[in-house]
């Protein structure tokens, strides 16, 4: 038994009087982080302690299973807010290090106000906000050795700026991406720079936008089930013709890319009485998922199986080297009759020409698309003219405050964890692309 563990037990027995004199950090036994070597990504130092998250008894058994790492990830609705800030406020002496932040974003990006104009946690300070590495290339900034880089998708040419920033500031330990998608940072240089920096951690805003996209998914399903295109046509022509509609109850939703967004959509779909099947890289992680009826791994066969059983397909996979063009003509050939296809992940995951063909030859009943290979969608694209395509300009998660909330997540949840030396939420693997 290590000394810290016995100290923990001693404190637990003798109660509060001793706890007051001992820093709370010492009460948590130092567990050598999970043997899974992927977790090295978010291990900041050998002193990293693992915070015991409270979970319901039903999940407790699973929560400690290293291969089911849901505790690493943030969900705007379910996760407990402010845990780390609370600890920091109560005992500021617990901080392990300072956070010296650089912010890479477009000028006047108001969504960053919680960072640029707000109150930061104790131990964190913003050194500078800029648009390109040149804005930061001053001795006064360099000598302060910034260790945190906050990147917004609004930053022009971000994929070129990022490797430059990393070379300019070898002191950067942590990159936080304000959005969920990190494909805008992909470049050939980046893996080279990152390999030389094995301790660099990258995190994103996963789980921040899921529930609004889940609402869009159900709306898109109902749009076709109740045949809104026909309703609108009839309304335009002042025709009263009562036609049969279909229910969502009893139908099957297939989710390609069963991450936080997929899970939020599955939650709603299951309340509607739909059956849910899903596809993800690590199917074992969803083995005990009560919402998902069947989960498949990756591969052509798995995708075709999903396409063949699903009435409504939701594509919520990120755009990575593996997923680009994944949903192709072969996949659509396997589609169940009258299928509706919904894409809210990234355009490039779907072969747009194959999708277009399938819509034209009635393989698909219709499609609801919030994302496209090229955005804005070019005015001469055939989608604009098609009655059975619901087009939205990549805005179905764009509530008035969504990006502010993403910045707030960085400021209120991950920054306190960083200064406390805790594991950061939402680690991403740039080599995997998500």
């Amino acid at each position: 038994m290590t000394i810290s563990t016995s100290a923990f037990i001693a404190i637990a027995r003798t109660g509060r009087s001793i706890a007051k004199t001992v820093s709370p950090r010492a009460t948590f036994p130092s567990i050598s982080l999970l043997s899974h070597h992927d977790d090295d990504l978010y291990r900041l130092s050998s002193n990293t302690v693992f915070r015991a998250y409270t979970v319901s008894p039903r999940l407790a058994k699973k929560a400690w299973d290293p291969s089911l790492d849901q505790y690493k990830y943030w969900n705007r609705e379910d996760s407990k807010k402010g845990e780390a800030s609370y600890v920091l406020d109560m005992s500021p002496e617990s901080i392990q290090k300072e956070a010296r932040i650089l912010c890479l974003a477009a000028e006047n990006d108001d969504a960053n106000n919680p960072l640029t104009k707000g109150v930061l946690p104790f131990g964190a300070k913003l050194l500078k906000s800029g648009v390109a590495p040149d804005d930061f290339d001053h001795a006064s900034i360099k000598e302060q050795r910034p260790n945190v880089l906050f990147v917004s998708p609004s930053c022009p040419h971000a994929r070129h700026q990022l490797p430059k920033m990393l070379r300019l500031f070898p002191s950067i330990d942590w990159i936080h991406v304000r959005s969920a998608g990190i494909d805008f940072l992909e470049s050939e240089e980046l893996p080279v720079v990152l390999t030389a920096r094995p301790n660099l951690v990258v995190t994103n805003a996963k789980g921040q936008f899921s529930s609004s996209l889940a609402e869009y998914v159900m709306m898109a399903c109902a749009y076709f089930a109740k045949d809104i295109p026909r309703l609108l046509r009839q309304k335009g022509a002042k025709v009263w013709h009562d036609f049969d509609i279909t229910e969502l109850r009893g139908k099957t939703m297939g989710i390609v890319g069963y991450g936080d967004i997929g899970r939020a959509a599955a939650k709603l779909a299951s309340v509607y009485g739909m059956r849910v099947v899903a596809l993800r890289r690590n199917p074992a992680k969803s083995e005990f998922d009560p919402i998902c009826d069947e989960v498949y791994g990756t591969g052509k066969d798995a995708l075709q199986k999903l396409m063949s059983v699903s009435d409504y397909v939701v594509c919520s996979a990120p755009s990575t080297v593996e997923t680009r063009g994944m949903v192709n003509a072969d996949a659509f050939k396997a589609s169940k009759a009258d299928q509706v296809f919904i894409n809210l992940g990234r355009g490039p995951v779907v072969d747009e020409n194959a999708l277009l063909e399938s819509l034209k030859n009635k393989t698909l009943r219709g499609a609801a698309l919030d994302v496209f290979a090229t955005e804005p969608l070019p005015p001469d694209h055939e989608f604009w003219d098609m009655d059975n395509v619901l087009i939205s300009p990549h805005n179905m998660d764009k509530t008035a405050t969504f990006m502010h909330e993403a910045t707030e997540f960085f400021v209120n949840e991950n920054l306190p964890r960083f200064v406390l030396g805790d594991a950061l939420l939402n680690p991403v693997d740039p080599s995997l692309g998500y």
């Binding site: 609004s212 009562d242 109850r249 709603l268």
Partner: protein, 310 residues
């Protein structure tokens, strides 16, 4: 006492002895395919179908009258409502959430932009955190509330008999006198009452004046519950955001009605519960649930209060 297609347990075996016969006459269209389970059976033990006809004259025959039919099955192609309570609630709940989303994600704007080949991002609203007010918290209201709760909405209800009622899906229940409060607090208002003398014209100009400017009214009850002219006025003037109407005062809706041309109205021809299977399921419910109960002398499901009208 009430059957709900989703949540009621099908009576696997109606234990008990048969204490009387069911001698059925069916006032329905003999060619109605949805009634085939009744016409062609098999019917439960103790029941038999005497005759099928679409009007009283068909039954005015000695051989039918002498057998003293004691059960009448009524099925008119246009009849819906209380006779098959609980049968279509989930379908209408799906429509309710769709209508809410239709306005939350501003689909009218999306349609306009599509027509103009215009790519313009705009902010959308979340249903999460908004309030659904259910006027007439019956089976349909409850099914809608269940979905709304899953979305993270707050649910208010209104019921004739609000006392001693608690429901996990309803955050606060009002009595009849709470109508103005409900209208003032709700972002989305579902009208799901039956049409009775009390509810006719209930949603008047005065009641509508209490609505938020961002309110959306969804009617799945009956057209005459809302003062249609008053509704058209507030829609035209932008005093409420929009309306989703599956029922209208006159159906089919006359061509002259302004509802056809108002941008902020989602119109449907009273078909949002018209699934391919709903009629057939109603007949099957009669055969599989209520007939066995009848012949064994048990209490029947879905009683209708004739005086109340539902």
């Amino acid at each position: 006492m009430y059957w709900n297609r989703e949540t009621s347990k099908p009576s696997a075996s109606h234990e008990g002895e048969i204490i009387r016969e069911a001698r059925i006459i069916a006032l329905s269209d003999p060619n109605d395919v949805y009634n085939e389970p009744l016409y062609y059976g098999p019917l439960p033990d103790g029941s038999k179908l005497l005759a099928v006809g679409s009007s009283a004259e068909n039954f005015d025959k000695e051989e039918i009258i002498s057998q003293k039919p004691n059960v009448m099955f009524v099925s008119h192609p246009n009849s819906r409502g209380p006779l098959a309570k609980g049968m279509f609630s989930s379908t209408l709940a799906e429509y309710c959430m769709m209508a809410c989303s239709y306005f939350a994600k501003d689909l009218p704007r999306l349609m306009k932009q599509k027509n103009n080949i215009q790519w313009q991002q705009y902010p959308v609203l979340e249903l999460r955190g908004s309030t659904l007010g259910v006027v007439g918290y019956g089976d349909i209201g409850r099914a809608s509330a269940k979905l709304a709760k899953a979305y993270g909405m707050r649910v208010l209800g209104l019921k004739r008999n609000a006392s001693s009622f608690s429901d996990p899906y309803c955050d606060h229940l009002y009595g009849i006198d709470g109508l103005h409060s409900l209208m003032a607090e709700s972002d989305y208002i579902l009208i799901s009452t039956p049409l009775t003398e009390q509810t006719r014209g209930m949603i008047s100009a005065d009641v509508l004046s209490h609505c938020k400017q961002s309110a959306v009214i969804i009617n799945v009850g009956r057209g005459p519950i809302i003062d249609e002219n008053a509704l058209i006025e507030v829609l035209k003037e932008g005093k409420i955001k929009g309306a989703g109407l599956d029922v209208m005062t006159i159906e089919p809706l006359p061509e002259s009605s302004p509802l056809w041309t108002l941008d902020n109205v989602l119109l449907s021809p009273h078909n949002m519960d018209m699934t391919l299977t709903f009629m057939r399921e109603s007949t099957e419910f009669f055969i599989n649930e209520n007939l066995p109960r009848f012949v064994k002398g048990k209490q029947l499901l879905n009683p209708v209060d004739k005086a109340a009208g539902y």
